[in-house]
């Protein structure tokens, strides 16, 4: 028996999805289409002389050694952010799992940073580590560390990685906690009876069973580091010093808004679009199949 609900009115389903479709078309497809269109043009900022140049902008971008450097920098940055956001989150989740009294309180506190806007998170870290006024920079100076993220590219990179990772820890924490709770207790108890220590249990049972969650979070964190860290970088370093913290998404903004180089900026955003499509495809293909909530 066919149990599908049949709408007598052919128009109604379309009407019902229309608002959603309209939002997607206006706020996603239209600007994306504009970006693709502009990536094929060469023009001045005011649009007084516009010429079609085909794929010249892409050729220019991909043969620009600065762009390749930025690509590598972005990979390093994303990898570091993912690791720095995943490892503590896992530790916190394992610890929070064991807390009996006040568990809700701990969990709530650990989730709080996720509610903070990226730019605010950036400014918080900027103040703490500002060479002139920052309390932690003051401490570092007392310890004899020559800390100056305004000049030292390594210091600056460290600062944005910490700020970006810090904000993401809460999100990872939630998923790890859920993952931990879904591990069958019987397995752990059996292991205990066999005399396995805490570390041994974690290494041989908990971590392997968590791997789908970990893999999912790895992809999500890399996507986050690629695209959502703009606010932090803009607030903390503006991509400096000497481009040391300029990642791909920041370069799109700089070349478009500061340098008014619209062709190159559009080409770069089309490349970024391709990357995000690729990452999403990977996530759908490998992750969605394996993660069980």
């Amino acid at each position: 028996m066919d149990r599908r609900v049949i709408f007598p009115n052919k128009l109604l389903p379309y009407l019902l999805v229309a608002p959603q479709l309209a939002v997607t078309l206006i706020f996603f497809f239209w600007p994306a289409g504009q970006a693709v269109h502009m990536s094929l043009l060469s023009q001045d900022a005011f649009g007084q002389s516009v010429t079609f140049v085909g794929l010249d902008n892409f050729k220019e971008v991909l043969s620009d050694p600065d762009y390749i450097k930025t690509l590598w920098r972005t990979l390093i940055f994303s990898g570091a952010v993912a690791v720095c956001a995943l490892a503590p989150a896992l530790l916190f989740a394992v610890m929070a799992e064991r807390v009996v009294r006040g568990a809700t309180f701990y969990r709530t506190v650990l989730v709080l940073p996720y509610a903070i806007a990226p730019a605010i998170a950036g400014v918080l870290w900027l103040f703490m580590f500002s060479p002139s006024i920052g309390i932690l920079a003051y401490g570092l100076k007392k310890l004899g560390v020559d800390w100056n993220p305004r000049l030292d590219g390594g210091d600056a990179m460290l600062l944005v990685i910490m700020a970006a990772a810090w904000k993401q820890i809460s999100y990872n924490f939630l998923f790890f906690l859920a993952g931990l709770q879904s591990i069958p207790k019987a397995l752990l108890e059996a292991a205990s009876i066999d005399g396995a220590g805490e570390w041994h249990k974690f290494r041989t049972i908990v971590f392997p069973l968590l791997s789908p969650t970990t893999f999912f979070l790895l992809v999500v964190n890399i996507v986050y580091a690629f695209f959502d860290t703009f606010g932090i970088i803009d607030a903390v370093t503006s991509g400096g010093p000497a481009k040391a913290t300029e990642v791909l998404v920041y370069k799109v903004y700089y070349d478009g808004v500061h340098a008014l180089n619209l062709g190159s900026s559009s080409a770069q955003s089309v490349i970024l679009m391709a990357i995000v499509i690729l990452l999403t495809a990977i996530q759908f293909k490998y992750v969605e199949r394996k993660v069980h909530y």
Binding site: S132, A242, G256, A259
Partner: protein, 445 residues
Amino acid sequence: MKLIRRAIASAIVGAALLSGNVFAQAKPVEIQMWHALTGLGGETLAKYGDEFNKMQSDYKVVVSFKGQYPEQRAAAVAAFRAGNPPHIMQMFDAGSGDMMGASKAIVPVSEVFKRAGMQFNPGDFIAPARGYYGLKDGSLLSMPFNVSTSVLFYNKDAFKKAGLDANKPPATWPELIAAAKKIRTSDASACSFTTTWLAWIQLEQLGARHNVGLGTQSNGRGGLNAELNFSNPLYVKQVQTLMDMQSDKTFSYRGRSNDASAAFQSGECAMITQSSGAYGGYIRDAKFDWGVAPLPYWPDAKGGPYATTVGGASLWVFNAPNRSVSEFKGVAKFLDYLKSTPVMTDWAKTTGFLPATNAAFKYLNDEGYYAQNPRTAVAIGTLANGKQGEHTGGYRFGRWTEIRDFYHEEVEKALQGKQSAKEAIENSIKRGNVAVRAFEKTASQ
């Protein structure tokens, strides 16, 4: 009796006419003005908009803050492309070359006044600003508004503590280096010297101060085909000086734009090369005795110290297909109000910017303002009364904001020890010329 009756009658008629006038009047023409001034400057500008609106009823000026200069410019570009740019936009010095290239997007200020049928004399503005924002025929492209130049601020308390004469600030770079060393060895302050606006001061202002150019075609003012050529040993020496001072720990790099300002204001750094526009902020917030000195120069350079050049921003008028004559008239009226002596003198006194017009300067001078506030007189002294030369009148290159950042990046690399001073300058020129050529390609029709 008759007279009184007549008076009453005419009063009634007059009142009727007046009120009738109010009712019959069309909606005032709206004039949009965008600016990028934060804090005191922005508030003061908004106040002038309100006052202008109260003075007359034909036009209504809407003054709005649209973010920092690059964001504001991007917003204006988008608005222009959509056919509805602001009427007036405030644009900083470095953006002038880009605005000039947009010949269809802007209407020169001289032309705006002509269309409005109003008097406009570019000669009213102080000569350095006139040269910077003007054309060869003497007409003005944009109206100079917040005018500043670069000076040296120094902490008198720290100078005394280091055993230096607090009333004799360093006039030359060697003197500044010696003073910085003394401050360092006596531990009078944690940091001896820093600078804001790296490219604007250590490249552009330095060039003007020694009458050395930045590019061909009289610093880009002669045409879009100009090339950057600031490979003069002076520029290399300046970067080398900063590098040497950094390794002596007498110079501390604190970021590109105005980031270093906090280090002087908190008393951490004893000397800072800075925009004269910082004056108002230091008056309010610095809790120590400080002085202002002209930007230091190199005594071995030919011809001695020249004038510094103009910084700050000017007001540009946008064109659009649907702009009416009455809108241009309103723009001209408001600009005329802004450049009037009462507004200009109030602006200079409130914000610490320099008066943009000769009349306002004369008024302040006659009033004894500069005699009472000698610290504000320093900037106008080096800008307007300094020795003028071929290269003191400023420069004009497209994409200069980006080129400034090339310089920032290359000098930062040199300060990180990754390249020499000479390489920093050479790379800036090389990268700058690519941008200048790309601008020429898209800007010339």
